[in-house]
């Protein structure tokens, strides 16, 4: 069996759940994976053991304290064995995988949502079409979350490699997000508001539901462009973030093609819109034709009583 290298996804100093899905992707590729964990503290690699994985390498280096694409790629490349490189399709991991691939003179296929032998499928044209490519030899692959089942955890067989890369960029200042709210790019459930919310203050109704569900709050571009209070970091779509949550609730959003581009691959979509002909309804699993003023209080109380 050919070898593969999984670059573990880490978040807040521990292994992110998507890493277990990457193991299933590696097995679907017919490869035997080694998990590589970029870290400053090798103990986090203890959480990166899975059925089907015989080896976990903690790549420990000062360079991993902050993200610097060049030093991360150099350190990961030096510590990782050869083989197909597999990473999560998060902005940072796509970036580092692209550099590791380039270091090795390999091609990269990003945002894979299906694997059939060495045929890989990804969305193109913002999800308006799908493309299947065939890969010969080694390559790098990034895999979307919520596509492959999570491999079961097991004890990790960890070896530690001390490896540093020369850091090429210097962090001057970290600017914390104003609210403690989850970022749409990191969330499994997203509730987004559009121009139909009428005013930025009304986003508090979305925040209440987000708090009940542990969800992130997103927005359409019309909302971001119309109201200064709604930052671009919340924007979902073609010129905002591409998200792939389990549940996406669109409230007062018409469903323009550029908005769909960022969220159409969500597993379940709920739409609340007063216009029965809004295009969003053709993509919704559950559509509610009503004003948000009518629907959101009902939704909030139903969800609160279910979640308590």
């Amino acid at each position: 069996m050919s070898e593969s290298v999984i670059i573990a996804e880490t978040s807040k100093g521990s292994i992110a759940p998507v890493t277990a899905e990457l193991v299933s992707a590696a097995i679907a590729l017919g490869t035997s994976p080694t998990v590589v964990v970029p870290c400053t503290d090798a103990s986090i690699a203890d959480g990166a053991g899975y059925d089907g994985v015989s080896r976990t390498i903690a790549v420990k280096g000062d360079c991993f304290a902050n993200y610097d694409a060049s030093s991360w790629a150099a350190a990961i490349d030096a510590a990782a064995p050869s083989g197909i490189i597999i990473a999560a399709a998060t902005p940072q991991s796509k970036d580092v995988a692209a550099r590791v691939a380039a270091r090795r003179g390999l091609s990269i296929v990003q945002d894979v949502v299906a694997i059939d032998g060495m045929n890989l499928t990804s969305p193109i044209y913002s999800g308006k079409a799908m493309q299947t490519v065939s890969v010969s030899g080694d390559a790098a692959v990034s895999v979307r979350a919520n596509v492959f089942p999570a491999a079961s955890s097991s004890a990790a067989n960890v070896s530690v490699v001390d490896q540093s890369g020369d850091v090429a960029t210097a962090v001057q200042e970290i600017i914390a997000r104003a609210s403690e709210r989850l970022d749409v790019a990191e969330a499994n459930i997203i509730i987004s508001g559009g121009r139909g919310m009428g005013s930025p203050d009304n986003f508090s109704h979305l925040e209440k539901i987000a708090d009940v569900l542990g969800a992130a709050v997103g927005a359409s571009r019309a909302a971001v462009d119309t109201w200064d209070e709604i930052p671009h970091s919340m924007q979902v779509g073609q010129t905002g973030k591409t998200v792939n949550p389990n549940l996406y609730i669109a409230v007062g959003i018409s469903g323009a093609i550029q908005h769909l581009a960022g969220m159409r691959s969500s597993k379940y979509i709920v739409a609340v819109n007063k216009d029965a002909d809004a295009p969003i309804f053709s993509h919704a699993d559950y559509g509610i034709v009503a004003t948000w003023e009518e629907a959101l209080p009902v939704l909030e109380s139903a969800l609160s009583s279910m979640m308590s």
Partner: protein, 260 residues
């Protein structure tokens, strides 16, 4: 970019700036599949949207430090239009890299050829889009940087050029101001910058502008397209009238969809 003289003062070496631009279908275009390939014969072509932010950032860099901005694309002759569009917005030079033997290049080939063209142009800093509207990949910026042995910062939302390049880039829990020393490839997201639009003078100048066509080598592709297809159709959803139906939807999210 600034460099310290022996006396400790700053001199500005006027930067040679390259901005990567790609021709893509207008994002409003309907994407039609015929047979097992996308049929793009009827679409309107534009500069990939994030590349407009890259052009804006490159022009602001030049306004701060002097130098030249060269727009570079890899593509056949029909890509000349987006170079002329970039010229109309204000870049100085327009260059297209192409080799008539190329066909459906993979990322390794594209990045290698672009890196070679950037080297041949003698550039010190490259701006590009965060992702191209067709591939959605986000591979080219970091991949070209690695091949050049340069730093890279991706998905920036702001940049300033006082005493070197400082950019704002997303990090877990917020964003970071990062300074870049030395040569770098910087990929641009839609941020706080307003992109400038071409003016009449720019459009007139662009009409007369000559595209400089250069050649480069590219390794053979190891990734080949098997098929392109429409996105999988979703089964028709359920639609309810009235706000009170939200209660039923909440129940279905738990009992049918199992997502909460």
């Amino acid at each position: 970019m600034g460099q310290t003289t022996p006396k400790g003062g700053w001199v500005n070496l006027m930067p040679n700036i390259v901005v990567l631009v790609k021709r893509v279908p207008d994002t409003n275009a309907r994407i039609v599949v015929s047979g097992d390939r996308v049929d793009l014969s009827a679409v309107k072509w534009v500069i990939s949207p994030y590349d407009e932010f890259a052009i804006e950032t490159a022009l602001q860099h030049k306004e701060a430090d002097g130098g030249t901005v060269t727009a570079l694309t890899l593509g056949p002759a029909d890509s000349d239009k987006v170079l002329k569009d970039a010229k109309a917005i204000g870049v100085d030079e327009i260059v297209r890299v192409w080799n008539d033997t190329w066909n459906e290049l993979d990322s390794n080939a594209i990045q290698s050829a672009l890196a070679q063209a950037v080297t041949d142009l003698g550039a010190e800093v490259v701006y590009c889009g965060k992702t191209a509207a067709d591939t959605g990949a986000g591979s080219t910026g970091p991949g070209v940087a690695e091949r050049l042995g340069w730093a890279s910062v991706s998905n920036i939302t702001d940049a300033s050029f006082a005493g070197g390049i400082t950019v704002t880039t997303p990090v877990e829990g917020g964003s970071a101001k990062v300074s870049v020393s030395g040569n770098a490839v910087i990929s641009c997201d839609k941020g706080s910058m307003k992109v400038r639009k071409p003016n009449v003078k720019g459009i007139m100048m662009a009409k007369r502008a000559q595209v400089n066509v250069v050649s480069a080598d590219a390794p053979s592709s190891s990734v080949t397209i098997v098929s392109q297809s429409p996105p999988p159709a979703k089964p028709a959803g359920k639609k309810y009238e009235g706000g009170s139906s939200a209660e039923e939807v909440a129940r279905l999210l738990r009992d049918e969809a199992n997502v909460i």
